[in-house]
Each structure stands twice: as structure tokens, then as C-alpha cells.
């Protein structure tokens, strides 16, 4: 009997809980919701740091999670275009559809970089609205945080004051941290890097890093041998300090190029990790800077 109750509670947990259900597409937004909502939100994250948010599938577990969600917090700018629209159609949940308060797209609230001038697939798997990997510029996170706190207050008005207070606390800590990171960033100015995918454009823009090449010949197209050979040729005269990549990028192309150019191959944390990596947004930035500082010396 007891066992049955446990199973039932597990199955129908969303009915019993009084915290709002948040469906976060990426770990960075789950971390931001945690900062702003604390235990007022039960969060389900669709991807881990090791998973590519471009290529996810509309898995059964995610269909179930979107059905139960009160608020959807995703990147937008077409990052989740392959699976989020499908989840929304399957969910039978009007609260999180496009245009509803429960539909929050982080990239809508910041200035996007690399907006393509012409929209054509010959340019790769491009995002018409611009590069969606916005969270590695902490100033973007502040802006998104302000908008997200307002949204939380709309979705869950009972705790509105709490969200406002937590936002202020977060912004205070975050501003101090930004000052520190920017001071540390002075030493990184102009650091030349090659990146696997255009995942670090906002970081580079913020810290004035110089990303001289991407291993993918076009965004979303896996690095080919020919393209890598060409990179080796053009970069060997003045090699960058390192090749950087996200945890979900294939390690081999980075290893191939860095070995031949005799430069570092760096795995940057990119986002919050479930285990064995940064556990909140502060640590993500700290650890990113520390890793870059090590090779900049």
C-alpha cells in the first residue's frame, strides 16, 4: 500500500506541488530561474551541458514536462527550432504557447550579434535573428534577469515581491562580479582564439577577444578535413593561443588542429553543469576566465 502511494506521488507529483513548474530549455536559464525564484519554482531542464541544444529531439519525457509547465524559459532566436515547436504542439498546454506570459525567450531581450545579411542555407544552419548563444556576456544575463523576474511575477503574482527582492539581490552580486571579471578581462584583451562553433561570440564581444576562425566551415556543418587543412595553412603563420569548444562539441577537430599548430585545446564550461563543473552562473564566468587566464600568460 505504502509503495503504491509512493508511485502515485511520483507519477502525479505536479498536482501536489504548489511551486510553479518551469521548463528550461538550457541549464543557464535553469540557473537563472533558481537565482530569481529559489524554491518557488520546480525546474525541469531539457538539456545538460553535454547536450547540443540545436539537435535535441522532442523526447517523451520533454512532452510530459511541457504539458505540466507554467513557464517556459528558453533561448529563442531559433536555437530550439527543431524541437520546441513540436513540444508546444504536443503539450496541450495553452499557458506556454507563443505570445503567452508563460513563453519566455531570453534572446528576445538582448542585442544579437552576427545577424545574417542574407538568409540562405548555403550559409549553414544559420539563425535569421542572429547568434543565439547570448548568455556568456554577463550584461546580457542582467537584462534577461530583469525581464525574467517581471515574467515570474506575472505567472505567479502571489510571490511577486519575493521575485523582485531576489532579483535585486542577484543584480547586486552580479554587478560586483562583473566589475571583477572586467578587471580580469583587461589582461585578456585581444587574445586570439579559434572556436569550434560560434558559441563564444558574446564572450568575445564583451572581453574584446579575437576569434580568428571557426572549425565549422559554416554554422552547424561539422568540420571537414579539407576545411581543417585550410585552417592549418592559414593559421600556421600566426597561430591563435588556443582552440576553444563547448562540452557538447566533438573533441576530435579541436585536438587535430591544436596538435598541429602546437597550441592549447580548451574545453570551456560554457554553461552550468549537473556535476563535475560550475554549479551556478557565477562559477561559469569565473571558471571561463580562469581557463583563459591560464593560457594568456
Amino acid at each position: 500500500m505504502k509503495k503504491h502511494i509512493v508511485i502515485l506521488t511520483l507519477l502525479f507529483a505536479p498536482w501536489a506541488a504548489n511551486a510553479i513548474e518551469v521548463f528550461a530549455c538550457e541549464p543557464e536559464w535553469a540557473a537563472l530561474v533558481t537565482e530569481l525564484a529559489g524554491e518557488h519554482a520546480d525546474i525541469i531542464v531539457a538539456t545538460t551541458a553535454a547536450q547540443d541544444p540545436h539537435s535535441l529531439q522532442a523526447k517523451p519525457s520533454l512532452i510530459a514536462a511541457t504539458r505540466n509547465a507554467d513557464l517556459l524559459v528558453c533561448t529563442g532566436a531559433d536555437l530550439e527550432v527543431g524541437w520546441l515547436p513540436l513540444l508546444l504542439r504536443r503539450a496541450g498546454n495553452p499557458d506556454i504557447q507563443v505570445g503567452q506570459p508563460g513563453h519566455f525567450m531570453a534572446a528576445d531581450h538582448v542585442r544579437k550579434l552576427e545577424i545574417p545579411k542574407s538568409i540562405d542555407r548555403s550559409q549553414g544552419d544559420i539563425h535569421p535573428q542572429g547568434n543565439p548563444h547570448v548568455h556568456l556576456n554577463p550584461n546580457n544575463v542582467s537584462r534577461i534577469g530583469k525581464n525574467l523576474a517581471e515574467r515570474l511575477a506575472v505567472v505567479d503574482p502571489a510571490n511577486a515581491t519575493e521575485y523582485a527582492a531576489r532579483l535585486q539581490q542577484f543584480l547586486d552580486r552580479w554587478a560586483i562580479a562583473i566589475d571583477d571579471w572586467e578587471l580580469r578581462g583587461e589582461a585578456l584583451r585581444g587574445l586570439r582564439l579559434a572556436a569550434h562553433h560560434r558559441s563564444f561570440s558574446y564572450l568575445a564581444d564583451w572581453l574584446d577577444l579575437d576569434i580568428v576562425a571557426t572549425l565549422e566551415p559554416k554554422p552547424g556543418i561539422p568540420p571537414s578535413g579539407a576545411h581543417l587543412a585550410r585552417l592549418l595553412e592559414t593559421l600556421s603563420a600566426n597561430p591563435p593561443a588556443a582552440v576553444i569548444r563547448t562540452p557538447y562539441a566533438n573533441e576530435k577537430p579541436s585536438a587535430w588542429l591544436s596538435e598541429r599548430l602546437n597550441i592549447h585545446s580548451l574545453l570551456l564550461p560554457y554553461t552550468v553543469h549537473e556535476s563535475g563543473g560550475p554549479t551556478d552562473l557565477f562559477e561559469v564566468m569565473d571558471s571561463t576566465l580562469t581557463t583563459l587566464e591560464e593560457i594568456a600568460q
Binding site: F12, K59, A64, Q97, K112, G220
Partner: protein, 435 residues
């Protein structure tokens, strides 16, 4: 504060000068010089700090201006354009080269439905597909898929899908109406260009003529649980050759994750139809080779997917299988008829490096129709029809794919080795990553 400090230093200097003895003078000057240097470096670092702050303020001011600008641009751009509300448009182009000797068009023991078989040898254009979809308003979503196919020299346009669906109902309920891919089984709800092999598995060909596409209504409900628990019911008024008017379907799906690396789904479906004149145009003119009567089909399906840490970019594995069992009773050739047919397939796909996949499939169907109808289309061949296929495909990007497939085909008494080369290209709107 700085002024005060300066004044203080001045005062100090005067005091020192006033009271200094000659022999102490050089020591005092050195001390003064040191103090001045100290002050200068103090100022310099402060000024540097101020400059840095100013720079930062300027940068964020610039950001703010640019955001304001972009918002203004976003608000005005395209507002007057009449095509702003264009739906998502996608097209799929398919073609193949095949080497086939046994071009069968029906499976022994099964009344053929739709177009069956491996098709003809040589180069042929497949079904070119045009898809349009968009939100209709805040409550409905609509989808239209047209298939263009060449048959005997003339091009046919077929409405493959034309459905509307609710997005405004709550509590996990969705309603769909029109012509849609039934939720029966696993593979049925996929477009054929998304298949892992160049043709549908035998049970799909034998029982549905490739795909079950009702005209009617579908109701789905997802239970409020962390596992996916979904139930669906459909009514089919199409009354085509696949089933009949007033056929109904029930299905249930359960699925979830096991850790981050595994995803799975199980399904059980049931299709009940009162068939009227399956088998040809001679309805109402018995005794033709047509079947009329009750048809009950049960389908069990499963799919399991694996990727290291759930990151399917480089490597992943998919295993899927379905089992079909059909019980039919009624009349055939104006004689009482009671037959059972079943079929299954099992396939595994392994992506061993980015863009490259290797797959194997076994599919077979078997009819137990009794001895009475030997020599007719329902004649029991006393063996099952089966195939084994091996495929290798390469996808240079998410939107293009080339496939090579070998099949050992044992549908006819003599087995046939078949070769298939195929390309599948999607252009326009980004396709959906269906699980």
C-alpha cells in the same frame, strides 16, 4: 578630499622648511620627493580607475542605444509587407536509382492496399513534397502537405495531409481534424522521407499500404505525470481501401528517460474496422475477389535510443520494432472467411561518426487464411514473406542525406537482391526533430 590632502601636505612642507636645520635639509627633500611620487602614483591609479569606469559606462550606454535602435528597427521592419504572415514552407525532394528484379505489387496472402512493392528499376523521381504550416490563430494550428508524384507519364497532386489542431485547449488535451497520419504504431506518424530505410517495413505495406492516413478526428490526452503517458482515440470517415468508413482507433503510449543517455517509448494500438469491399473496384458485383467483414488490428511498438551523455551529435543508436496482428472475419468471394495475419520488423541504426549511419532491418509478414482460398489473392503461401536490409547513409548537413541500401527480398518464392541509391533533400522551413 584631494585638495585637503594637498593643503595638508603644503602645510607640512612649510612647517618642515620653517623648522629645519641645514644638515637635515637634504634628508627632508628626499622625503618630500618620495611623498610627491607616492601622491602621483596614487592619482594615476585613481585616474586609471576612473577612465576604466568611464569606458565601461560608455560601452553600456552604447549598448543601450543599440538596443533602442534595434527595437525601433524591429518594430518598423516588415510591418507593411503582405507576406509577413506567410506560413512555414518546406519542400522535400527525393529521387532514387534502383536495381530490382522481383518487382512484386502484392504480398502473398494479403489483399493489396495502395501502392506496394519495391518499385521499378532505374532512376525514378520519388514523391516530391510541399509542406505549409502555421498558427491559424491563438487556438488553432494548421498543416497542409501536398505530394507530387509522376504516374504513367502524368503528374498527380495528392493531398497527403490537411489537418487543423488545437493549441488552446488545456490539461494536456489536443484535438485534431482533417486528414492526418494516424497515431497508431510508432512509424506511422512519421513522414516517409524521415524513415531510416528507403521503403516502409513489410507490415506497414501489407496492413496499411505504407501508411494509415484517416480522414476524421483525433483526440489525444497526456496525463499529468513525469513519465509520458498518452492516450488517443480516432474516428476515420475516409472509407478508403485501407479500412472503411467508421473505423476507429485507440492508442496508448508510455515513454521516458533512463538516465541522461537513454530515451524510450512503448505503444499499444488497436484499430477496428467494418470493411466493405476491400480488394478492388468490383464492389457490389460478387463474387469478386473482395473482402467484407470485421477487421481488428493490434499493434505493439517500442523504440529505444541511446547517445553518450544524451549528446547525439557524434554517436547514437536507435533500436525500434513493431508487431502487428490482425484478425478478420466476414466474406470473401461470397464465401465465409476467417483469417489471421501478422507481421513484425526490428531495426537498429547506429550513427558511428558525425553524419554517417549504418542500419539493419528485418521485416516479415505471414498470413494464416486457411486452405479454402488457395489460388486466390488470399491464398496462403504456407511461408512468410520476409526481407533483410542493410543501409548506409550520409548526411552532410541536417537538410541533406544520401543513402545506399541492400535488400535481400524474399516476398516472392525466389529471393531477389536489390540495390537502392537515394537522396532526400529538405529545403525551406526547419524540419521537426520527432522522437
Amino acid at each position: 578630499m584631494y585638495k585637503q590632502r594637498l593643503a595638508f601636505t603644503f602645510a607640512l612642507t612649510i612647517m618642515f622648511v620653517g623648522t629645519a636645520h641645514a644638515q637635515d635639509l637634504s634628508g627632508d627633500v628626499a622625503e618630500l620627493r618620495q611623498m610627491l611620487t607616492q601622491m602621483r602614483s596614487d592619482y594615476e591609479s585613481r585616474i586609471e580607475d576612473l577612465e576604466r569606469r568611464l569606458d565601461r559606462a560608455e560601452r553600456s550606454a552604447r549598448d543601450a542605444t543599440e538596443i533602442a535602435e534595434q527595437t525601433a528597427i524591429d518594430l518598423t521592419a516588415g510591418a507593411s509587407s503582405p507576406n509577413t504572415f506567410n506560413p512555414a514552407i518546406g519542400a522535400v525532394l527525393v529521387a532514387r536509382y534502383a536495381d530490382i528484379d522481383a518487382n512484386w505489387e502484392d504480398i502473398p496472402g494479403f489483399i493489396p492496399l495502395g501502392e506496394l512493392g519495391p518499385g521499378k528499376s532505374g532512376f525514378s523521381l520519388g514523391e516530391s513534397e510541399l509542406n505549409l504550416n502555421a498558427s491559424i490563430d491563438s487556438r488553432f494550428f494548421g498543416n497542409l502537405t501536398l505530394a507530387l508524384e509522376e504516374e504513367d507519364g502524368s503528374t498527380e497532386i495528392a493531398v497527403e495531409e490537411a489537418w487543423i489542431q488545437t493549441t488552446g485547449l488545456s490539461n494536456g488535451v489536443t484535438l485534431r481534424g482533417g486528414r492526418y497520419f494516424s497515431g497508431i504504431g510508432y512509424l506511422n506518424s512519421f513522414h516517409r522521407h524521415a524513415d531510416d530505410f528507403g521503403d516502409r517495413p513489410l507490415p506497414y505495406q501489407a496492413f496499411f499500404g505504407g501508411q494509415y492516413v484517416p480522414d476524421g478526428a483525433q483526440l489525444r490526452w497526456i496525463a499529468p505525470s513525469s513519465l509520458l503517458l498518452e492516450f488517443g482515440a480516432e474516428l476515420d470517415w475516409r472509407g478508403g481501401s485501407t479500412t472503411s468508413a467508421d473505423a476507429w482507433t485507440l492508442f496508448a503510449k508510455i515513454g521516458g528517460d533512463m538516465g541522461v543517455s537513454h530515451g524510450w517509448q512503448l505503444g499499444l494500438s488497436f484499430l477496428s474496422a467494418d470493411v466493405l469491399g476491400r480488394g478492388g473496384p468490383d464492389v457490389g458485383a460478387p463474387p469478386a475477389e473482395v473482402f467484407s467483414g470485421d477487421s481488428d488490428l493490434t499493434v505493439f511498438d517500442f523504440v529505444w535510443k541511446w547517445a553518450p551523455d544524451g549528446n547525439s551529435n557524434v554517436q547514437n543508436i536507435k533500436v525500434q520494432g513493431e508487431y502487428f496482428s490482425r484478425d478478420e472475419s466476414g466474406t470473401f468471394l461470397a464465401l465465409p472467411y476467417d483469417g489471421d495475419q501478422d507481421g513484425w520488423y526490428l531495426q537498429g541504426i547506429w550513427q558511428f561518426r558525425q553524419g554517417w549511419r549504418l542500419g539493419y532491418r528485418h521485416d516479415e509478414v505471414d498470413a494464416e487464411n486457411g486452405a479454402a482460398f488457395a489460388g486466390t489473392i488470399l491464398g496462403d503461401p504456407g511461408r512468410s514473406s520476409s526481407r533483410d536490409s542493410l543501409m548506409l547513409d550520409w548526411a552532410p548537413s541536417e537538410f541533406s542525406r544520401f543513402r545506399l541500401q541492400f535488400t535481400e527480398d524474399r516476398v516472392l518464392p525466389i529471393s531477389d537482391n536489390q540495390l537502392l541509391l537515394q537522396y532526400i533533400m529538405s529545403l525551406g522551413a526547419h524540419g521537426a526533430h520527432q522522437f
